[in-house]
């Protein structure tokens, strides 16, 4: 495989360019993304829902000007959906429409050619000539068998199609896998990846994120929102609010024209941050809303 020039010059370069496309990093994110790019290893991002795992992949694609190819994992995802499939209907048409005297061998060679191949995300990412980012989203939702498939693709960046031979990546795509940790991914897969755990951000970073995503909100209100969300996270809730909810909340307060977060405002907008009835009761009790 041809050595390709890395996309990022340094760790601080990662931070700057991701910030330029609206994603604020911390040292852990910047360093891991830098290493993923330099070492050519897939990046496995794990963490609770709504902390910006998928956003990170999109931001990297935007910052490096790469095309984004996304493989959304779900139960029952198989090779035909992830890797490639023969366009069976088109093959049938070709055989029926061909002149009668064509000999079988030429037809056979013809229907198993590139033209009849449907490239699914994994193959598409490997065949891409331009810089590409392959996002394998919610890897933990897929069955264990899919991990075996990913192992081959992610370690050698090649795919073997029996009728065509082995297709090797022309240009190694950057790979980002995300997982909500509903199950442990296999050791073999984890070993091939760089691991990044994205948890809830520090107060400072979260405040900056809110200010950059909802610029109209005042610094004082942003501060209040972030501190309240952190107080909610300190409670033992079923689902702690994550960054996505913090941003939603900021939008909500802005839309309602509230400029301070008091008991009244919190009570009427709690549904934006907490999504379980029992969490509502608990938060209301602990934060003395009644």
């Amino acid at each position: 495989m041809p050595q390709q020039s890395p996309q990022f010059a340094s760790v601080s370069d990662v931070g700057k360019r991701l910030a330029a496309v609206g994603y604020l990093t911390d040292p852990a994110i910047a360093t891991t993304v830098f290493l993923a790019d330099r070492l050519g290893k897939p990046l496995l991002v794990e963490g609770p829902a709504g902390v910006g795992k998928t956003e990170l992949a999109k931001a990297i694609a935007a910052a490096t000007g790469s095309g984004l190819i996304r493989l959304q994992c779900y139960e029952g995802l198989d090779e035909a959906r992830a890797l490639y499939e023969w366009n069976y209907k088109k093959q049938l048409l070709r055989i029926q429409a061909g002149p009668d005297d064509t000999d079988w061998h030429s037809v056979h060679d013809d229907v198993f050619s590139e033209e009849f191949l449907l490239a699914r995300p994994l193959l598409a990412a490997i065949r891409q000539q331009e810089p590409t980012l392959l996002l394998i989203d919610e890897t933990d939702k897929a069955d264990v068998e899919v991990e075996g498939l990913l192992l081959e693709v992610l370690s050698d960046f090649q795919v073997t199609i029996p009728e065509l031979g082995t297709i090797t990546a022309v240009r190694r795509p950057l790979v980002v896998l995300t997982s909500n940790a509903t199950r442990e991914l296999s050791e073999a897969l984890k070993r091939r990846c760089l691991y990044l755990y994205l948890g809830y951000p520090s107060a400072e970073r979260e405040r900056e994120i809110v200010l950059s995503r909802v610029p109209d909100i005042g610094g004082a209100l942003a501060d209040q929102i972030v501190r309240t969300v952190r107080a909610l996270r300190a409670l033992e809730l079923k689902k702690s609010p994550s960054i996505a909810e913090t941003i939603d909340w900021a939008h909500t307060l802005l839309a309602l024209g509230l400029d301070t977060l008091d008991e009244e405002a919190l009570r009427s907008t709690l549904g934006v941050v907490l999504k379980h009835a029992s969490d509502h009761v608990r938060a209301a009790g602990e934060l003395r809303l009644n």
Binding site: K41, E184, T228, A231, R282
Partner: protein, 456 residues
């Protein structure tokens, strides 16, 4: 390029990680060396995150990684023990406290960490043996007593707002977080100084904490229990996900005659493909009988929570708790109920104490069998939780045997290590002859057991 000295240092570090229970394979070790050659080694944060990304593959390993990283790759440029003035001027604690209050109010974490390092140098020193100096975090914390600053900080943060409402709760949480940062920074600095004195290997042994899912239930401290409780929901979800997968892959049920004939029309009436009804999952009833006396409280609450979380997997879950008499506590674990309040209500409202509040297994079993004879039947899986320490009272073995024979399955989870069964007032060994007794000392063992118990 990395120098050999640096490489062997890295190898030592990797070995220490393995000793701390973090599985670092050979290929990960090689990756770590590559990382060393790629990142800016003079930037500690880059080095830390870079190494973490290749050797730490589970978030539970991260705290131990951080502790060891601080020992093997200490911050340079700070004051060292030898540089210190052997007789430093005694600082004025009041001035330091004022400074600390200002920093805590500010919320600048870097400044707070800097302050912690200086405070350790100034206040944490104690002469352990002549000529040797040691540093202790409790000396620093006692001198600064940051907890007494809370009221003052609260006033400043609230700035005249009303007490008792939302604002106060939020402010309290903010202060709590900053104090935690301060404590962590002080402990890190003390460890660093100890490592300087005695070498990282010696300090590593005392700093590494067991992983959350391997913490012994009976020895768990308050913070461990909080961490354990947070693992309940994901654990239940993981077990449920595994169960769902097992069911799907399991054999199919009876032949679906109608669908098979229907599809055979496409092949000229020849049933080439057979269709089957989905296998009906066997949903057993689960009855949990649980000792909640003080000695095993942490264990039983945790287990009750897990069974409550697994409610969807069983057609019916009933929970009973006992100390020296027995009461049904299912109502506290209604769907959507909050687990923490549930356990609080359980100890407050349920009728669990009859005589003196010490475990009495014999009486508890009798009351259970008498008052709820319908609870255990041929579809029931019975789960008894307790350490089997009867305070030398009648064990009620016959009653237990009666329950076991009536139930479909019966298990006893014991949080004590197997060698201690039957020692002192424990009659676990007697019970074990009548019921399958399983050692269940930590969350890992519990998860393994529940995985086995779940219906397939």
């Amino acid at each position: 390029m990395t120098r050999p000295g640096l490489l062997s240092h890295l190898a030592d570090f990797v070995r220490a990680l393995r000793e701390a229970g973090i599985p670092v394979g050979v290929s990960e070790g090689i990756d770590a060396a590559v990382v060393l050659g790629t990142v800016d080694v003079l930037d500690r944060r880059q080095l830390r995150e870079g190494l973490a990304s290749v050797v730490v593959k589970r978030p539970v390993h991260r705290p131990n990684f951080d502790a060891l990283f601080d020992l093997w790759w200490p911050r340079v440029g700070g004051p060292t023990t030898t540089d210190d003035d052997p007789d430093p001027p005694v600082p004025d604690p009041e001035a330091l406290r004022a400074e600390l209050a200002r920093l805590l109010l500010d919320g600048d974490d870097d400044a707070l960490r800097r302050f912690a390092r200086e405070a350790v140098a100034a206040l944490g020193r104690a002469e352990s043996t002549p000529g040797r100096q040691s540093f202790f975090s409790y000396r620093v914390l006692r001198a600064l007593s940051p907890d007494t600053l809370v009221a003052q900080l609260l006033d400043a943060l609230l700035a005249g707002a009303d007490r008792g409402g939302l604002a106060e709760q939020v402010a309290r949480n903010t202060i709590r977080e900053r104090l935690a940062t301060l404590r962590a920074a002080i402990e890190e600095e003390v460890r660093r100084r100890a490592a300087e004195e005695r070498g990282p290997d010696a300090v590593a042994r005392s700093t590494v904490r067991p992983l959350v899912d391997q913490v012994d239930f009976l020895r768990a401290q308050q913070q461990d229990l909080a961490a354990l409780r947070r693992t309940v929901a994901p654990l239940a979800r993981r077990l449920a996900a595994r169960l769902a997968a097992k069911r799907r892959h399991g054999r199919t049920g009876r032949l679906d005659f109608r669908r098979t004939v229907r599809s055979s029309l496409a092949t000229g009436g020849v049933p080439i493909l057979t269709h089957h009804r989905p296998h009906r999952p066997h949903k057993p009833e689960l009855v949990v009988l649980c000792d909640v006396s003080g000695s095993v409280a942490g264990f039983s609450h945790f287990t009750l929570m897990l069974t409550a979380a697994l409610r969807e997997q069983f057609s019916r879950v009933r929970a009973f708790a006992f100390v020296d008499t027995c009461d049904e506590v299912t109502r506290f674990f209604a769907p959507g109920a909050d687990l923490v309040t549930a356990t609080q209500r359980l100890s407050r409202e349920a009728d669990l104490v009859w005589f003196d509040g010490h475990s009495d297994y014999g009486h508890a079993f009798e009351v259970f069998a008498e008052r709820w004879p319908e609870a255990v039947g041929p579809k029931t899986s019975l789960l008894v939780l307790g350490d089997g320490r009867t305070n030398y009272r009648a064990p009620g073995t016959a009653t237990l045997r009666g329950l076991v024979t009536r139930a479909r399955h019966a298990y006893w989870l014991n949080p004590e290590p197997r060698p201690q069964w039957g020692s002192g007032d424990s009659v676990s060994d007697v019970y074990a002859e009548h019921i399958e007794m399983v050692e269940c000392r930590n969350a890992e063992q519990l998860a393994a057991f529940v995985g086995r118990l779940l219906p397939v």
